[in-house]
């Protein structure tokens, strides 16, 4: 083959692969865009300030989704409040203090595998442990504890990766000045790791807010048009509400627009929660870089 032909062939092969990869990218993004479009078109009809802030009425065929929205926010925040300290503590121990060996590798592998356990299994586990054995009943706290256990692998893994990314020279520098290990971790390692830790928490938060199976079993109510005032009360939640409206309601066709509206609010809520977390992450990242 001549040199020119070879060059041409190489260019064609290159072009072919770029096209294939680009097609896959378009399919992925297109699916997402289509999904968003469908939900936005469907939800835009019903969504309004009163839809968000009113109680559901007339057997959920009218009114809004306020208690479901508040319930989801409560349970997500509670989940993060429980899982972040636990997860970061565990990550610090595993990464900084535990003697690295077979046992720690086994623990780490178990944590990674926990993220693959189906959520219904977490739901049944939470029902048995938190609702029944601990006597919390089906409640906000039982659901939040269950979700917290479920998102823990994300939080721990994110925090561990963040700790690993802190330059070794910070630790050496601190220890060489006679700082204790804890002083070094607290004052030099953690500040640099916060942005990465926030990323793990974001992933956990997004999953907790959208999860349905575990909360059905551990505390979400079918229909409960009040705002919970105590962590031992049951609550409504957006994903479960959506599930009911779409499949369990006696007049699914009538409530279809409300279902779309609920889906839209849920997606917006998750995006908002993520944005806040991303903002926190970027804030700390900037602060570390520039002070």
């Amino acid at each position: 083959m001549t040199n020119a032909a070879l060059i041409k062939k190489k260019r064609n092969v290159q072009l072919m692969w770029v096209t294939i990869c680009a097609t896959f990218a378009v399919i992925t993004v297109g699916t997402l865009a289509f999904l968003f479009y469908w939900i936005i078109v469907g939800g835009a009809e019903v969504i309004s300030w009163s839809f968000i802030t009113q109680m559901p009425e007339q057997n959920m065929t009218a009114g809004g989704i306020w208690p479901a929205l508040v319930g989801t926010i409560y349970v997500s925040l509670l989940t993060i409040a429980i899982s972040v300290p636990l997860g970061i503590g565990a990550a610090i121990y595993l990464n900084e203090y535990a003697k690295q060996g077979r046992l720690v590798r086994l623990i780490r592998l178990s944590i990674r595998n926990l993220s693959g356990v189906p959520s219904i299994v977490y739901g049944l586990f939470g029902l048995g442990l938190f609702a029944a054995t601990f006597g919390f009943g089906r409640s906000l706290i039982a659901a939040a504890l269950t979700l917290a256990i479920m998102v823990l692998p994300w939080v721990i893994t994110g925090a561990e990766e963040a700790l690993k990314a802190v330059p070794r020279s910070f630790r050496e520098g601190g220890l060489a000045l006679g700082a204790t290990k804890w002083q070094t971790i607290r004052q030099l390692v953690l500040p640099s790791a916060i942005p990465g830790m926030a990323t793990g928490a974001i992933l956990g938060l997004a999953r907790a807010a959208g999860e349905t199976a575990p909360i059905i079993l551990t505390g979400a109510a079918y229909f409960l048009p009040i705002i919970p005032h105590d962590i031992k009360e049951q609550f409504m939640a957006l994903p479960y509400h959506l599930y009911i409206l779409a499949t369990q309601h006696s007049e699914t066709a009538t409530v279809r627009p409300i279902a779309y509206g609920t889906a839209l609010v849920l997606i917006i809520l998750v995006i908002l929660l993520n944005s806040v977390a991303i903002f926190i992450r970027n804030y700390y990242r900037r602060k570390n870089e520039l002070l």
Partner: protein
Amino acid sequence: MAIKEAEPIQIDVREQFQPYFEGDVKKVFQVEELSLWYGSNQALKDISFDIKEKQVTAIIGPSGCGKSTFLKTLNRMVELNTNVKTSGSIVYHDIDIFDPSVNLVELRSAIGMVFQKPNPFAKSIFDNVAFGPKIHGVRNKKKLKEVVESSLKRVGLWDEVKDRLNESALSLSGGQQQRLCIARCLAVEPEVILMDEPTSALDPISSAKIEHLIEELKELYSIVVVTHNMQQAARISDHTAFFLHGELIEYNRTDRMFSNPQDQRTKDYVSGRFG
């Protein structure tokens, strides 16, 4: 006429040449039969020599000869690696640093360290220098300011940074960062400063400043510096130890080491035949 017998003139040679009489200079470290293993790999073999107080001791040798390992053993930073085993002893004043009763926080406060690559923390210039005093319990703002100022002055950085103490230390140049790291080390008021190839990541002008600084600092501190720059060792050190394959081949006054090495391997190395 009786000639009076001349009185013998008494010259105290030792006094005249005091700095060069090894016996008279106090030791800060007494290394005895020190061996060190990383797992099953022996990195230091049976090393014994004394490191003199308020002098600059250079440790030279080719890459992988154990010189950095040796330096990090002096403040036990080497133990950050996994699977490190040591035998023998390093007596610092009267204490064996491997004794279980030794408090690493105190040891490392007394034996400061400067690293090969400048490693300022992602904090302000002020907070970098104040970090050491703060973790050792200095809370008084005025005292902290004094310590920061005097430490920065001692390394000749004060005039360059006094108007931007709150800026990130990462905004400084490499040479400035290294002097900042030395200031950070001085702020803890150590007695010994260990330096691990402190100029190898710097340009010649910054290196010259650090070398000059080392010569000033030896008035007050005992300095051990690892370098693979033999000219640097010759310029700044009083004593030189030559390491090869984890062994101490030769240890002598620097001038003698370079003008009249005793061991053939030292001769080959300092004349640039290998390494």
